[in-house]
């Protein structure tokens, strides 16, 4: 039975699409057959992060309109044969699809794929309703900011009301140094409010921006960055492996950061 997972957050810009792209790729590399669906109709991005923009011929909307078969719209990844992307239409908006249509598409994909990851748009309107319509579980992405956590909380409530009970949390863009200095919400602070089981902590990393612009998911790098490692670990946890959370404090405890800490404690 294939797993249908929606990646959602409520707030925009917290890393839903980055997470979807990296988890999709990481799972494909582990030999799973994965379909990633861009449910962000009108503001599609997932194709860019996967570097597949120039291969799109048909979109999900063409499938629904009967202009092509579903298989024709699926874009096979250029690096990994196990990964396909179902792109969203860029020239329409969220109202052009209904939850029933989403269910139909996802239902058809379950025949051939073990994992179906749905990249949810920001917000809780029609696009959100479409994205979660077919999902059986969810990954909630949040950053350690009060606004992102508040929106994530609302989204958990909506997911529960929609009958999706298997929700797990990814805390993205955490900066251990700031947490240590008490300038940022810690993982515990976030968890205390959301009370959702944690599946991953991803550190803030400049290489995420590079990978986004290049269309190369982090998990493909030869030497994994810390963020890439974190995404790979999340994929392993989704597979049911028990993987320790990364110890994010170590690399930051260099001589300079220690020095800075000593200085800052003396200053204030």
């Amino acid at each position: 039975m294939s797993r249908i997972i929606v990646v959602t957050s409520g707030k925009g810009g917290v890393g839903k699409t980055t997470t979807t792209a990296n988890l999709g790729m990481a799972l494909a590399r582990r030999g799973r057959k994965v379909a990633v669906i861009d449910a962000d109709f009108g503001l599609r991005n997932l194709d860019l992060l996967l570097g597949l923009e120039n291969r799109i011929v048909y979109t999900a909307l063409d499938v629904l309109a009967g202009q092509c078969r579903l298989e024709q719209a699926l874009v096979k990844d250029k690096r990994h044969p196990n990964l396909v992307l179902l792109p969203a239409a860029q020239n329409r908006n969220k109202e052009s699809v209904t939850p029933e249509q989403m269910k139909k598409i996802v239902g058809a994909l379950t025949q051939a794929f073990q994992y179906i990851l749905i990249d949810c748009p920001a917000g809780i309107e029609m696009g959100f309703q479409n994205a979660i319509a077919a999902a059986r579980e969810s990954l909630i992405v949040t950053t350690p900011e009060v606004s992102a956590v508040r929106d994530a909380d609302r989204v958990v409530g909506l997911l529960e009301a929609a009958g999706i009970k298997n929700n797990r949390l990814i805390i993205n863009r955490i900066r251990p140094a700031m947490v240590q200095a008490n300038d940022m919400m810690s993982v515990e602070d976030v968890q205390e409010i959301l009370a959702v089981p944690l599946v991953g902590i991803v550190p803030d990393d400049e290489r995420v921006i590079v990978s986004t612009n290049k269309g190369e998911p982090l998990v493909l790098a030869e030497t994994l960055s810390l963020a890439g490692q974190a995404f790979d670990n999340i994929a392993r946890r989704l597979e049911g492996e028990r993987v320790e959370f990364l110890d994010l404090n170590v690399p930051n405890d260099t001589f300079f950061s220690k020095l800075r800490k000593v200085l800052s404690t003396k200053l204030f």
Partner: protein, 266 residues
Amino acid sequence: MTDSSSVPVVPSATSEATRDQQVRFKSEGGKLLILLPPEGEGDIVNSAAILTWAEIWQQLKHRLDASDRFWQPETVVHLIARDRLLDARQLQQLAEALLEAQLHLKRVYTSRRQTAVAAATAGYSVEQQSPLAHLNQPSGEGGQALEEPLYLETTLRSGAEVQHNGTVVVLGDVNPGSAIVAAGDILIWGRLRGTAHAGSRGNARCVILALQMEPTQIRIANFVARAPETPPEPYTPEVAYVSEHGTIRITRAADFRRAQFEENPK
């Protein structure tokens, strides 16, 4: 323990109007009554206050999840749809959700012909009332007795709002961005971080209890207070009440009885 600034406010007239905009559950004679908020047709002025089916559905699911162990399995449900227009699909959705909680929809009360037809087709007994009938039901009239306490076993998350014409007991956290409005007391066996309004119909003797009191805002009757900027550490169970001086005070639960006693010497 902590004195917080509080200012009396004028009771808002809107709360009376929106009180009815909530799905209500009521047990009566071994049956469970589910009351849907009225649609108020033709009332364009209030259209923003009218809930859509999706919102009603969310409230309903939330309430079913939060209270599911308080109903005996196989309890009979009567749906009081008032002037809500329900189609066959919505009725079926409703019946399925109820069935998940082992509740059986048997009878539908409605004042709309289409709803009556849809319900009859789906095999429920239907009672069609005149459109004015719901006005006779106790709603929004002053001076009525409080309803039974509402017991919720759930986390109230951002965006959730519970309104109840009686006391509310929550076994779980009340997160920031959520709100409880109760005509009676509010008891929270967990953290209170959202907004709580006790004695919403003007009873200043109502109290708010929480194991960990970090509210966004507290209201009792016509009084409003913010939580202290520097919360006490470590947290202990606390009670918020309106003191003699007409301000909201928060005191440790263990000291509550004594504090009241000192303020109102008999």
